[in-house]
Assembly symmetry: C2
Homo-oligomer: 160 residues x 2
DNA sequence: ATTTGTACCACATATAATTCGGTAAATTCT
DNA sequence: AGAATTTACCGAATTATATGTGGTACAAAT
């Protein structure tokens, strides 16, 4: 288990992190210019940030509409019980549904919030009826359909 | 304005998209092996996917805990009015708050759902009191604090 | 059947990443 | 404070990777 202890990094590292969050495809040469170092130590810093786990991975961001994914939703899910066994069973099922791209345990209204993406309303309904609501630990579900997305930043605000 | 019309792509393109979503740092040489083509046409396909807008961008994913971001939340926000002017004004303010990393217009419970990330509960409270609730279009706010994240996939389920 | 276009490969070249040896600055230890 | 040690840096050589080119086979269209 990786216990996510905070790791040290300086002002230059922070700048690297900001740049790589916004544009992971930048060349090391350009990155080194942007931060004011030569390529060698720049690369060293990036490698260290990767090894320390501050940088976890790199991902291509796609346009959902262009690949035929027209419906995105948030779903508040209430479980029938709150014990660890139930939660584990629920998560195991959720893990196997690729349309569920996020699952968070939350305080407040529901127990969990899911982010789901699918082709259209029909396939969304089918997914919910035949997969999500079939999970026996699921009690209640409340869907919020995304009408439009105004902001979807991949850049976290790194504290000073 | 880019109107996100669906664009054509075949089985090989789909595989490329799946791979690049999961790991944007793969070399073109390795990618070409994985999909069973030589490097030249592989690169050509990737470039086309970028030019067509199917691939929008590339991003480094960080570990929030390791950079001192311990509190993530979803916030349901109700506005005082639903007209376009109000929504635009609200969005303009939201855009300037880097801690708000997502903002979606939704059906259901509230009008908008935000995803917010901050250092700790104190700075979260400060952010909400001094910035978000100060936006004059904001009527109601309901916070859901994320206790833990079980799934956070960067891979969209591309329809067949 | 011929043409036209598309997708592919192998190979050559250009660009970029990575490694290495050495130096200066910062930190630790006595 | 001064010596020893570590850390971070640079420039240059090397290696790896991306990119460009010419030619070929296949598919679709005329």
């Amino acid at each position: 288990m990786d216990n996510s202890i905070k790791v040290k990094f300086d002002k230059i590292d922070r700048k690297i992190l900001e740049i790589l969050q916004a544009n992971a495809k930048i060349t090391n040469a350009q990155l080194s210019k942007d931060i004011g170092l030569s390529p060698a130590p720049t690369l060293e810093r990036v490698k260290k940030l990767e090894q320390s786990g501050i940088i976890k991975s790199y991902h291509a961001k796609l346009d959902p509409e262009k690949i035929g994914l027209g419906v995105s939703t948030f779903v508040l899910v209430g479980l029938i019980g709150h014990n660890k066994a139930n939660i584990d069973a629920f998560m195991k099922e959720i893990d196997q549904i690729p349309e569920v791209i996020e699952c968070h345990h939350i305080t407040g209204t529901g127990d969990f919030i899911l982010k789901i993406i699918s082709k259209d309303i029909n396939s969304y309904q089918k997914l919910m009826l035949e997969q999500v609501s079939e999970i026996k630990e699921v009690d209640s579900m409340q869907s919020m359909v995304i009408l439009s997305t105004f902001k979807d930043s991949k850049v976290l605000p790194i504290p000073a």
